[in-house]
Symmetry: C2
Subunit: 370 residues, 2 copies
């Protein structure tokens, strides 16, 4: 493992002081910003996420805000999902594609009051992409990155904690719905969302100068729930089959191959970028590869750092790539995620991978595992 | 300092095995790829760059290739420098701007044989930007990221080493000019360039499977010159006044503020993105702030990690931001880089900064220092 060099080119988050005080030990760079990945005990962080409540600095999920008279038309042109029925206060999981149908990002798109939109981004620079499109298409919009930094509160005890802080009404929020609110004057958007399947909320802080204040309020209220620091958890996300754009996808992947087919609407009247290319994929019978799970035939409880996608073969033929391999604490098995030839996914075939410790058989399964 | 988490989302380089074997200790992420920053002894790496020859894995300087019938028109539309006189085999340092004249990247643009162009990038995702523009403007081009990874050989002894490997003709290469060549069958572009002012070359490897082979050949031939591993050196780059896009610039900076005014041609006939906005800057009398050097009045030889841009004041007024502060081994002084109000730059004023150890006076100077 190597140390990371931080310079002004890599942005700190509004919660940086708090994460350092909490014992931050590992991080990565995401959207040119620090993204904490561990506080030194991944198993304890996993257990806290599965059984309790954790606080995560996910500021690196940056927002691109589209506002102005053409905001809806512009947002629609930028995504392959039908936005015509989206309500204010509702988030949509969407694919942003390029003109050849390659997936560029898989954000949650929040429709705010006043006709504004936030694309809450995975790790690719959509600010410039959106500005290029808006300018060249002459949409009457403003495109900017607002001062908005999400703080996630995740785990089965998150709802009780958030209800204590914000009121019982939060229990009625449906998944990906949100309210524009505040906490003791700190402006934020409170959304039922987060990069885990353990339940919880994201607090989109709207004043970067108040990050540590917000963190401290949550930690103080969370003490009775034994809250602790954490980060998007690699084991839990594989168990839950959550897509890591740029990890599980290649630069050539289309959204069907990324498991986002149900969010791609090729029959709507509205035009959007990549529509023709995505229609061709449908017309040709669908994608050649699919995102899937693997149950890997190795008996180990050790951690598997996988620094790069690795080939998947079937009788020696290249049939895809594996992008993650972990030991699932809850399943007691070694599991992975991969993009594999569709017939092998549909038949739940046995394939071969080369893991960090050598070759092994793997059984293709549906996602999620849990 | 924290450990970095590497996943398939962060790309390894073709030289990764070699850099690990050479003792890589510190790295950062640049264009979603690993960029080595140190092998554990920054002072030795500095001395090697100033007095000898160093090998740097700068694969993270990714290329965007534009090819096809409209390649020149497209490349011109993407940059604010007049490309009409650029020759094949010549590189140009250029600014890429958005429609409001903000600088998005400061690549070296290589004009290759067959009318192809490579934008050799700083740390921002111009592949998507270029694809958005090419598609919406209907340029007849292909835009892609080719399998090209630069390896830099830098320092005063680099020319002798490169001449030994490639022949005496390399001594005649002018700055930013290049040849398309090979080394024992390894295809590459050899360019007189690099992110230092100590002289040297960049070898743009065109076959990622042969990275360690290329590294080993250079290191073997370099043994007589006492070659060793290194990385773009923070102290040397400040002494030399080399721009770090995204560090020394803010998201709102225009190329004049970034010290790139002489590469911005607002009077040419060709249209390009941001031209109208840049003309308005000129018409209004020029930029409000300028990139400059600071000689900081503190007596220390200690290292100054500066994780974020920090305010510069003059009699209590906010007049700019400092983006780097280092102890210059050659000057025996503490120096920095900043963007500061133009009148204070032009008058070489004394300003105030808050460094990691507290407030200090600083004298504004021209760049480079050396």
């Amino acid at each position: 493992m190597s140390r990371i060099t931080i310079s002004p080119r890599t942005r700190m988050t509004p919660f940086h002081e708090s994460t350092m005080a909490a014992g931050l030990s590992d991080l990565t760079v995401y959207n040119k910003m620090v993204l904490p990945t561990s506080y030194g005990n991944l198993k304890a962080e996993y257990d806290r996420l599965i059984n309790g409540v954790a606080i995560w600095d996910v500021s690196a999920e940056r927002q691109v805000e589209i506002s102005g008279p053409d905001a809806q038309a512009c947002a629609q042109y930028l995504t392959s999902r039908d936005l015509s029925k989206q309500k204010e206060g509702q988030g949509y999981y969407v694919a942003m594609c390029d003109h050849d149908g390659r997936i560029l990002n898989d954000p949650v798109l929040l429709k705010l009051s006043g006709g504004r939109y936030w694309f809450s981004l995975a790790d690719s620079d959509m600010l410039h992409w959106c500005r290029a499109i808006a300018a060249e298409k002459s949409f009457d919009v403003e495109v900017r990155e607002p001062d908005v930094s999400p703080l996630a509160v995740q785990g089965p005890k998150a709802e009780d904690l958030i209800a204590e802080l914000f009121g019982e009404h939060v229990r009625d929020l449906r998944y990906f719905w949100f309210v524009e609110t505040e906490l003791d004057g700190i402006p934020l958007v409170l959304c039922r969302s987060g990069w885990s399947k353990q339940g919880g909320f994201e607090l989109f802080l709207q004043d970067g100068s108040r990050g540590n204040e917000l963190w401290n309020k949550i930690v103080a209220a969370g003490a009775t729930y034994d809250i602790g620091p954490g980060a998007p958890n690699h084991v839990e996300r594989v168990e839950s089959g959550l897509l890591s754009w740029g990890g599980d996808t290649t630069p050539e992947s289309n959204p069907f191959e990324a498991g986002m087919g149900r969010f791609v609407h090729t029959d709507i009247e509205a035009d959007y970028i990549g529509k023709a290319a995505l229609r061709r994929v449908v017309a040709s019978g669908g994608p050649e590869r699919l995102l899937c799970g693997l149950i890997v035939d190795v008996d180990t409880t050790h951690a598997w750092p996988l620094p790069a996608r690795t080939p998947v073969t079937s009788n020696g033929d290249d049939v895809g790539t594996m992008s993650a391999i972990v030991y699932s604490h809850r399943l007691g098995k070694t599991i992975g995620m991969a993009q594999i030839r569709r017939d092998l996914v549909e038949s739940h075939a046995t394939v071969q991978i080369v893991g960090p410790d050598g070759p092994a058989d793997a059984t293709v399964t549906d996602l999620p595992f849990l």
